[in-house]
Every structure is written in C-alpha cells, then in structure tokens.
Symmetry: C2
Subunit: 325 residues, 2 copies
Amino acid sequence: MRIHLQNPVDDPLFDFSRAMWDAAVSRAPDTGDHIVTIGRAADDFAAAMTEAQALICDVSVINTQFPCLAPRLKLLFVTNAGLDRLAPFDWLPPGVILMNNRGTHAVKSGEFGIMAVLMLANRVPEMVTHQRAGRWHKLWGVVVTRQPITIVGLGSLGGAVARHAAAFGMAVTGVRANPSPHPHCVQVVGTDGLDGALPGTSFLVLACPLTDATRGLIDRRRLELLPEGAGVVNIGRGELIDQNALCDRLDAGQLSGAVLDVFDPEPIPPGHRLWTTRNLIISPHTAADDPATYNPISLDLFFENLCAWRDGRPLPNRYDIARGY
Amino acid sequence: MRIHLQNPVDDPLFDFSRAMWDAAVSRAPDTGDHIVTIGRAADDFAAAMTEAQALICDVSVINTQFPCLAPRLKLLFVTNAGLDRLAPFDWLPPGVILMNNRGTHAVKSGEFGIMAVLMLANRVPEMVTHQRAGRWHKLWGVVVTRQPITIVGLGSLGGAVARHAAAFGMAVTGVRANPSPHPHCVQVVGTDGLDGALPGTSFLVLACPLTDATRGLIDRRRLELLPEGAGVVNIGRGELIDQNALCDRLDAGQLSGAVLDVFDPEPIPPGHRLWTTRNLIISPHTAADDPATYNPISLDLFFENLCAWRDGRPLPNRYDIARGY
C-alpha cells in the first residue's frame, strides 16, 4: 500500500519521522509491505496524493489541503480525536473511510483528569487564587475516597478518568447517550439522567465529544444544579459548557473551583474574563498529548485499523459523521 | 481508664466531640470502660488532669498547658505527626509514654502527593505562571508511567505516595535511613545513596520527618544534582530543603516547578520571595488533613495503641525522642 504522512507546517514537536514509522512497523510485523512518503510542504502533499491510498495527517493539514485531487485514496487517518472542526464533511472525497485518533489520548488524558479531580478535592484552584494575592489562608480539602463524581462521556478519555477515579475508591456516575453499564462506574445514566445526577455530585468531569447533542450541554441551569462547593473539569470541548455562567458561579464562590483544558474560543484572547476569574486553572489545550508517546501510539492505532480493513472487520477508529465521533 | 480530650482554643474545625468519641468506641468495642472528659478552656484542662490517665491533644495544647500537674498521667497521644515543634522534651512528665499521630495522614497525604507529582508531569506550575500573566502558551507534559521518581522518607506519608506512584507505573526510588526493601519501590537507598539517585530522577518528593539528620538535607548542591526540568514536592517540613536555593533554581527555569505544602517560616510572611517565585504552587500546610476524617482516624489509632499498652505489646505510635519520629 502507498501511505503518505503529511506533517503540519508549524508543529514540529509532533512531527512523524521515518524512524517512528520503522519502529511502528516493527511492532506490527504482519501488516504487509508499504511504500511510505513523509511530507510537510504543499508540494509534497500534492505529489504524494496522486498515488497515495492512505493518508495520515492532522486537522490543520485537512483544513489547508482539502478538497484536493486524491484519486486512489481509500483510508484517511486523522491524528486528532475530536473532528468537530472539520464539519461539514463536504471536503471528504466520496468512498474514503475517515478515522479519528480516539484511544491515543487515553493515558495522558486519564492522568490529567484524575489530577484535576485531586486538585479540586485539595482546593488547589482556591489556593492559587490566595497565592496570587500573597495571602496565607488555610483551606482544608477532602479525601476523594467515597466522594461522588459524575463523568460525562465514557469514551477513551472519560473511561480512563473513570478507571482512575474507581481506583481511588470514588463513586463514579457515568453519563452517556447509551446508558449501558461500565466497569468503572457504579451507575451509568443517559443524558436524560444528567439533571438527576448533578445535585449529588462533588466533581463534574466533561469528557465527551462536541456534537449537536452536546453543544451547550452544561448550561446555566445545569450549573446551578451542582451543590455549593462542587468542582468542574473540562477535557472535552469548550462549547460543551456555558463558559460565562461557569465564570459567574466561580466568581460568586458557589463552585470551589474549575480546571479547564478547553475553551471557546481558543486561544483565549488577551483581556478575556477567563484570565482573571478566580479559582480557575487554565491548561492551554494540552491535557491529552505527550509528544514522546503521541505519534507512536497513533501509528499503532493506524496499523490496527489497517489490519481490520484488510481483513474486512469493522474499523475501531472509523468516524461516524452523523453521530459526530 | 480516665481519658481527657483537650481541644485547641482556636481550631474548632478539628474539634473532638462526644459523638466522635462514641462512634470510635463502637468501632473498637473491646477496649474496656472509660470515663471521658472533653475540654477547651485552661480550667477544663487543669481540672481534668488531676485524674486523667490518658490525654489526647494537639501540639498547641502542649505548648500552652505544659509543664503541668498531671499526677496520674500514663499515656499522651499527640494528634500531630511531626513533633519537632515540641523539642526539647523537658516538659514531658517522667514515665509518660508519648505517642504521635503517624498513620492518620497517610490517605490524605498520599492523594496530595500523587496529585502534586501529576501536576509537575502536566507542568501545571508553569501553566499557572503563564495564566497569571494572561498568556496562552502551550506546554506539553508527560505521561508518568515509567517516569523515575525519588521519595525521601517511606513512613506513612512517603509510603502512601510510593503506593500511588507504583500504581501509575512509575519507577520509584525510596530513600530512608535504613535502606530495607519497600513493596512499592524498585529500589531503596540510604541517605548516602541520595546523591546517586538525584541525577536520574524526574520528580523529587520530600516526605520525611524533620530531625537533626534531615535538616537541610536538600541543600543547594543536591538541588543542582537534579536534571534540568525536574520537579520538587515537599510534604515533610520546610527546613528539609534550602528554600532560597530552590527559589533560585525555579526563577532560573532550571526546575520545571515545585509544589510545596511546608515552608520556613510558616505562615509565609507578606512580601516573602516565595509568593512571587515562578512555577511554584503554595499549599498552606494543609496537605495532610481532611477535617471529615482526621479525628475519627486519630481515635482509631489511639484505641489501637491503648490495646497494645493494655496487652503489654509495643505501641505502634510510640514516639522515639532520640530518633525524632
């Protein structure tokens, strides 16, 4: 198979290299012979796409290079998990199978997510607010064991957070469209059960994709359902939550804190109220990605999907445009 | 037995109540009959100590009430773990067995400790520095799995951090006076092995008591042995580390960050350089204590020691003045 990897123009930390490719091949020895090209410039892309049957690239490459001539393309593996920024998908050549990178972010996001929950339990956002003012002010946290936590989304991100939370002895309520049981949740409810879960939770973690069904899911009314002193974590997308309502509740001291990795818009503009909202920790959309492990895991996933495609099995990372993940 | 609990004058959040006592008795039913008094005022204390055979109180009570007349006192259970603030121990009536509260802080400190390590791995101290300046600046963290961590002190605090670190797949080096193996460490070295461990560690966690042997243990020379980008956590005592040297290395960007719960002095005075040192998170000496669980666990420990004393077994929490813990 002819495979092309197109690196983004301005993010060399996450470049695919020939050595990475060779290492991934050696971890997946039975995937057949391939001719592989790696490019960065627009010319590299155009030259490769006349022959390429598979393309591996990130959202920025698609936004700058598509639509394009790609007569032999069959498989498109996008190295991002949330593809909401590619909608509507009218740039996708007919018949091409689109995959996202769900799974790659699980380990890093899981660690970030449980860190954020522990930070809220230990009241770190409030401590940082006092520190900024040069105030020694004792604040007592809680042990997370037996604390109730609600995790919206139980895919690779939310599932990883749920696994850690359960290991710490927390009482995990999961929320997802299909409320089937989950090994690390004491209960799973559908979106229609969210209002019932919020008043009894100490920690709310948003880890679902952005879709028409989840945009604005945590609106002002739902934020007000959270008990006094609860904390919020968002590792999904900024648009999942009414950001202004969240800032209002933080400024009013009704929530103990928030740890956010995603925002609307990104980057947060200078002077935006988020920068000065108290008891808020801002992570600049980096929670999910460890440069040392990101590309190797991505390539392993690509090969897993390639084998499934070759064998006629369902592709684990196939992206469902209608569903939005 | 006549037992007196003296609450501190100014810390009602951590008061012992009759209900707490009754609940602890019900968890430890075979500990005999007791006459229990609970006081707060100096008069309560003086009245109770004419008869009390056991006293439960914190360091502040000892500092304000001792030396005193306590003719029948046999057991003194101090509800703090580090008793360095009570040295020299010339206030202790002869023949009284002194106990500290080691063990009570394990769960909360363990959670705080692994949180702090995850914060360093995710570069949260640096993010907070950028946030304070209103700067959107992407910083990529690492997955902690397989990362090397060095934990100084493997008592209840350090042991709890080691257990969590091992559960996250970290490579834990323990440092303690007696370098016997530890179930959650891949290696344990004596203090003489510390210099050898530091250059290969990404995270240094201080969790040992303050003694003559540990005062100033992490001096400027040892801080310079840490590799560029390493992070430091201190949940022991401020005097374990050369605080000025640590601030210098943080300000110079040679360490990625620090999460400190203990300082020299405490409270940190207004205008102290710690308040503005970059990439430093200040927790105001609250890491170890959860008001909801602190006293119940303390009383359970007291009963465990009481039974050991009654049965002539070694007391698990007996404090060794010469050793300093």
